[in-house]
Amino acid sequence: MSERVMDDDAGLRDGGLADAAPPTDGEARAGGLGRWLSARLRRGGRGLVIAIPYTWLLLFFLLPFAIVAKISFAEYQLGIPPYTPLVEWAEDTYLRITLAIGNYQFLLEDPLYIEAYLGSLKMATVSTILTLLVGYPMAYGIARAKPSTRNVLLLLVILPFWTSFLIRVYAWIGILKSNGILNNFLMWTGIINEPLPLLYNEFSVYLGITYSYLPFMILPLYANLEKLDKTLLEAAADLGCRPWKTFLTVTLPLSLPGIVAGSLLVFIPAVGEFVIPDLLGGPETLMIGRVLWSEFFNNRDWPVASAVAIAMLVFLVVPIMIFQHYQAKGEKR
């Protein structure tokens, strides 16, 4: 009897839910059947628990991308929904599939889109570097602080993250505009005679992205630098290495995973950023998130907006994969 039970269990373990038949021979004791049932229930329960978030993500995360991909091959039409169906019955006799690659052709032909993509990449790259330059010394300083001070400083880094993003961007408008706080202050001190053009240009977008995403850079960097073994630095100093050289040869290479994680957390969302270029950028600040938004809301051209989104995803697939690779590695630690 026991052997049969074991066979059943082996079947269950291998994932063969369907092929493990209940014991039917008359000699089967109640224990055998009960055990088989409870094993199946246990497995079922486990599957159910996985299924809940899995189904949700499939339905509301993966499926939408499929639909976006589908609509990017449709054509714009007046009506609701404002796009042509891909599959339709023509004259009720045969199935007609229309793949309109025109949207993608349009993206390649109109210089607006190429410029917007390149603009986004440039803006995201420059602001990621700026964020790293501001964030690294801060993360390093926090990691080297006394434990009690460290917690307070960390809290101060996290705090802005909990306050409204929109409002933090908004705060800069009041500071940077031509009769804003900064210009008023500079004119009052007499450094300048007329207001500087601080707002509605690339400078203000860089500033806005750096400001908004700074916590995303500091936190992974801090997590990495905090773990850095301080005796390594002492060993380097003991071996006659000067502080700056120690930093360049020991600390910096060891903190590379933190740099990569933080940079990706800034770079990927920054490429698709809409709010900051819209509020702080000028009319010539072309970014792809803004283009997508206006295709969708102003031109109501859903197929082109979808094609823009798919093209943006193609750009971002590699950085997203690298990010997930680091996430998975962090999980193992």
């Binding site: 026991s2 039970v5 074991m6 059943d8 269990d9 373990r13 224990g31 055990r35 409870s38 246990r42």
Partner: protein, 373 residues
């Protein structure tokens, strides 16, 4: 002592039967074909270094791991495939695994509540357990308000509250400091003796296994090397591994030259005389064997002993004073270093043997054990 009394007690009824159990994690074989029978009322130890498979074996009995192949019977019932919550055994964890959000009495009552016992009975049982581990006045405290030793006792009480057929203990004392550990060893043995519950304990500490257990299984690389009573394990190790793992030992490599039913003679380039051992072995003449002699069974003297076998000359190269005993390191003419322990019956200052002395070392024919492999 308790241990000896328990060892001589007759164990008839098998409570745990492990039959040819194999456990693989991917390519790694953690447990490789273990067969073991543990009897009612034993305090059985699984002893071995880290990664030898002892914890995996224990976790398979508890139901946290399923064997890749083989059977495990608890009290005659095959438990393979049964989840932990349906097995009649309980476990005490190395980290104690106390529920941090529950008081001491809630921790102890947890298992009883799962069985749906009436409230009055739960209260009575919790009370009894608290008295057993002398923690009655700490009943309302949370785990973090207890010291390490108290937490260890709560963990013990919690795992015994359900009166399991077998209690599994995973390194139960490793988190305690040395002094507390020694006291707790004796307490655990007393509790086990009073309750008559079978204990299976995993430990890496051979002294702990020796003082507490009725029987010990030494494991290495997923396999059981030897199962025996502690004193038999010490006096009659069946392999070099066990001899060296269990206490310290002098090991001489040699060739079997005479093999009679009641004695063997071995010639070793490491020792200046023949080695005569007064027990037979089942070895081939001319095969390479090892002779194991415990340091306390070797005599040291400035005068030449009368015996012709099991004797050699050497020079004292080091002395380790340990209070009750001293260990002499004697370098033989062959260069081999032999450890000799001698009880300090006189004060050290008056000791007649000291550094650089030329000495004789020798042992009785019945003191040595021949091991193969």
């Amino acid at each position: 002592m308790t241990t000896l009394a328990a060892a001589t007690r007759t164990h008839t009824k098998p409570i745990i039967e492990i039959q040819d159990v194999v456990k693989k994690f991917g390519d790694f074989t953690a447990v490789n074909g273990v067969t073991l029978t543990i009897h009612q009322g034993e305090l059985f130890s699984l002893l071995g270094g880290s990664g030898c498979g002892k914890s995996t074996l224990l976790r398979m009995i508890a139901g946290f791991e399923e064997p890749t192949s083989g059977r495990i019977l608890i009290d005659g019932q095959d438990v393979v495939g049964l989840p932990p919550y349906e097995r009649p055994v309980n476990m005490m964890f190395q980290s104690y695994a106390l529920f941090p959000h529950m008081s001491v009495e809630q921790n102890i009552a947890f298992g009883l509540k799962q069985d749906g016992l009436p409230r009055a009975e739960i209260a009575a049982r919790v009370d009894e357990m608290l008295r057993m581990v002398e923690l009655s006045r700490f009943a309302k405290r949370k785990p973090h308000q207890l010291s390490g030793g108290q937490r260890q006792r709560v963990a013990l009480a919690r795992s015994l509250a359900k009166r399991p057929k077998v209690l599994l203990l995973d390194e139960p004392l490793s988190a305690l400091d040395k002094k507390l550990r020694e006291r707790t060893q004796l307490e655990l043995v007393d509790i086990q003796d009073n309750l008559g519950v079978t204990f299976i304990m995993v430990t890496h500490d051979q002294e702990e296994a020796m003082t507490m257990s009725t029987r010990v299984a030494v494991m290495d690389a997923g396999e059981i090397v030897q199962v025996d009573h502690p004193h038999a394990m010490y006096e009659y190790p069946n392999s070099r591994f066990v001899a060296e793992f269990f206490g310290s030992v002098n090991m001489f490599e040699g060739t079997l030259v005479e093999d009679e039913p009641d004695y063997v003679v071995i010639e070793s380039p490491e020792v200046g005389s023949r080695i005569y051992v007064s027990h037979g072995i089942s070895g081939r003449q001319g095969s390479v064997v090892w002779v194991a002699v415990r340091p306390e069974k070797v005599f040291i003297s400035k005068n030449q002993p009368t015996q012709l076998d099991n004797v050699d000359r050497g020079k004292v190269t080091d002395i380790v004073y340990l209070g009750g005993i001293s260990t002499y390191m004697v370098t033989l003419t062959s260069g081999k270093v032999v450890r000799v322990t001698v009880p300090n019956v006189t004060r050290q200052a008056e000791a007649e043997i000291t550094w650089e002395d030329e000495v004789w070392i020798y042992w009785r024919p019945e003191s040595a054990v021949v091991v193969q492999q």
